[in-house]
């Protein structure tokens, strides 16, 4: 399964880089859905090989919650002309964001080999760390709340990939609880994001308070 882990890991990294250069929100959500399905398939195969029922349940939960429900919910929260919804201006220019994304892959590799490699000994262990960095960067480099939420979920996806592979015996109640929390976060965020779009304020004075 080591090769499969590395392959799925690289696929995840590629998909996040794809998200990084996308401006259309629907495509970003679809890409996130695809990346979740990839993790779900990996967990399913791993669970089948190890004959581990927890992993099989986790795989099903990942597919249903992360692959289907959350992208479906986010798409519903888009405006009617959602296919047109795009982020016109991001904090970091697209080309630079891709370069930085690749840079974080290298940083993840260096950090992993400097700190955890001797303890864990997993050859592709730097992949989840790189994904964590990329998730954080996606949040920081975009203004759009939907993309920021997806950045957060990319971070969580990296954990599911890492935790599911290295610690298949991790109690299911914990991972189930994390998924339930995620559903809660997404639903509450959906409300807040919608309000945020509807209430966009041009009164600069209202933002002065947020400084300092």
């Amino acid at each position: 399964m080591k090769e499969a882990f590395v392959m799925v890991g690289f696929l995840e990294i590629t998909l996040v880089i794809f998200m990084q250069w996308q401006v259309y929100l629907k495509k970003i959500v679809d890409t996130f859905s695809l990346s979740s399905y990839a993790i779900s398939i990996f967990l399913f195969v791993d669970g089948a090989i190890l004959n581990n029922i927890n992993l099989l349940i986790l795989s099903a939960l990942t597919a249903v919650v992360r692959g289907f429900f959350i992208p479906f919910f986010i798409r519903k929260k888009f405006r009617k002309e959602y296919y047109l919804e795009r982020e016109i201006k991001s904090v970091v220019p697209t080309a630079m964001s891709i370069v930085l994304s690749l840079f974080f892959v290298v940083v993840g590799y260096i950090v992993y080999h400097a700190t955890l490699y001797n303890s864990i000994g997993l050859p592709g262990g730097s992949i989840p760390i790189a994904l964590l960095f990329q998730g954080i960067f996606l949040i920081m480099s975009r203004n759009n709340a939907f993309v920021q939420l997806i950045g957060y979920m990319v971070m969580e996806n990296s954990l599911f990939l890492f935790g599911g592979y290295l610690f298949p015996e991790l109690p299911l109640v914990i991972e189930g609880g994390i998924l339930l929390d995620l559903i809660g976060i997404v639903m509450i965020s959906g409300i807040i994001m919608r309000l945020r779009e509807e209430n966009v304020s041009n009164i600069i004075d209202e933002f002065k308070e947020f400084k300092g």
């Binding site: 914990i174 807040i192 945020r196 209430n199 209202e206």
Partner: protein, 457 residues
């Protein structure tokens, strides 16, 4: 055993019914639920510590339960009188009560469970249940603050989840009782895991450098929400750090916590100097107090005793401060310090309450915060020497002068105006009760010391 579950049962029942009930019934149910929680928590305080498959209630849990219960009741009473000041609330009143109950439920859950993973889930659940409470004012800044809160805190908590997985790798269990029984040996992976967990939980507790959500949320949410956030939500997140420090009691981890605590109080006090908004100023004061508590936790023994005294006393005093800022905001319609004046003349109870509460939260004697800080600073002197004591004292002095000078200015400065304001009795009384409780913590110090004996040695 049923008694231990009662705080959870009462709050979850109140929350569920509030979703279906009308405003009045929701309010009454919440008040009943909060009133029941206090005697139950006090009774749990005198009972033996308990460790079952699901529950782990030790001295720290008991302290947290009592503090949360009392703040739950005072916030519920204050909310019922404050709600009329919100012109177009985001939620219907019954939903406000429902989310308030769920929020308290998630804090009760976090401090009672016997599983590190479930503590994480509980603390993450506090974000879900409180995000809409932050945005209740229903204007763009409060919605923006709520969004920043969700995203920053959630990212921080993912970092702590990575840390918890690393800890699990070494301990092969997340059961707290088992982890405390079979101490994990010091290894690089458990050190990294513990540090990540501390940074993650520290994000929620307003610990530097992931504190940035805190002033936005405290500054923009309504007074009762700011009060409950500052007084019990931040300590509930610190509770996660306490558990980590018990599971991984290594010197490197203690030093890491100590440095984070020092950085937090130094940066918070610097931010307070030029602060133009009174709610944000008190938010930074909360950050400074959480930094001091973190230092106390890192030192253990007398430091931990000081941290617990500070935690309880700060909860009462800071909730009092935020209730009072709500009174000022509803009367003066501004958050700017420069635009608030003649408080003593216009709202005497609020003014004197604010002056005394500000003195309390900045560690003036004879309030218990002073005693808590004294214990912590003594422990710092014994372990790290005089240089760190000087840094801490300078930071505390800066915070003391910044806050009390600005509060005095708001209270005593005179200006010609047609401002017609007066105190409302519930809004003025509840903060004064909490202020009195903050002082009375002094008399509870022997009881706190006694209950902590098993932990502080």
């Amino acid at each position: 055993m049923f008694l231990y579950y009662l705080p959870l049962i009462v709050t979850v029942s109140a929350a569920v019914i509030c979703f279906a009930a009308n405003d009045k019934i929701s309010k009454i149910l919440t008040l009943i639920s909060a009133s029941v929680s206090i005697p139950v928590s006090l009774y749990i305080w005198v009972l033996n510590s308990v460790s079952t498959q699901f529950l782990y209630i030790d001295a720290i849990s008991k302290i947290m339960l009592v503090t949360i219960s009392i703040i739950y009741l005072t916030t519920s009473i204050f909310s019922s009188s404050y709600f009329k000041h919100i012109p177009k609330p985001l939620l219907k009143k019954n939903l406000y009560w429902a989310f308030l109950n769920l929020f308290v439920l998630s804090m009760f859950f976090s401090v009672m469970v016997n599983n590190l993973g479930l503590i994480w889930i509980g603390i993450e659940a506090t974000t879900i249940t409180s995000a809409l409470l932050v945005a209740i004012d229903n204007n763009f800044p409060s919605i923006e603050a709520s969004w920043r809160y969700i995203i920053i805190v959630s990212v921080g908590l993912v970092i702590s989840l990575v840390g918890i997985i690393f800890i699990y790798d070494q301990t092969h269990t997340l059961n707290i009782a088992n982890m405390l029984k079979n101490h994990a040996s010091e290894s690089r992976i458990i050190l990294i895991g513990s540090a990540m967990a501390i940074v993650g939980f520290g994000t929620k507790a307003g610990i530097f450098p992931m504190h940035t959500w805190l002033p936005d949320v405290h500054g923009r949410s309504i007074a009762p929400v700011s009060a409950i956030f500052s007084s019990v939500l931040l300590p509930s997140a610190l509770f996660g750090i306490i558990r980590i420090s018990q599971i991984a009691p290594f010197e490197d981890i203690k030093q890491f916590m100590f440095i984070l605590g020092i950085l937090t109080i130094v940066f918070a006090s610097i931010f307070m100097i030029n602060q133009k908004y009174y709610k944000r100023m008190f938010a930074y004061s909360s950050m400074e107090n959480m930094g001091m508590i973190l230092i106390g936790i890192s030192l253990g023994k007398a430091g931990l005793l000081g941290a617990m005294i500070l935690l309880i006393s700060h909860a009462f005093a800071k909730s009092s401060v935020f209730y009072l800022t709500g009174n000022i905001l509803s009367a003066y319609k501004t958050r700017k310090i420069a635009h608030v004046y003649s408080l003593v003349k216009n709202m005497p109870y609020t003014a004197y309450g604010l002056i005394l509460s500000s003195l309390a939260v900045t560690g003036a004697p004879p309030f218990a915060i002073f005693i808590g800080e004294f214990f912590i600073i003594s422990a710092v002197y014994h372990i790290y020497g005089f240089a760190y004591v000087i840094i801490i004292l300078l930071a505390l002095l800066t915070a003391f002068l910044s806050i009390n000078y600005k509060v005095a200015k708001m209270s005593f400065s005179e200006r010609k105006s047609t401002q017609k304001t007066k105190d409302e009795w519930v809004s003025a009384l509840i903060p004064l009760i909490n202020l009195t409780l903050s002082f009375c913590v002094l008399f509870a110090i022997p009881a706190i010391n006694n209950i902590l004996k098993g932990i502080t040695g």
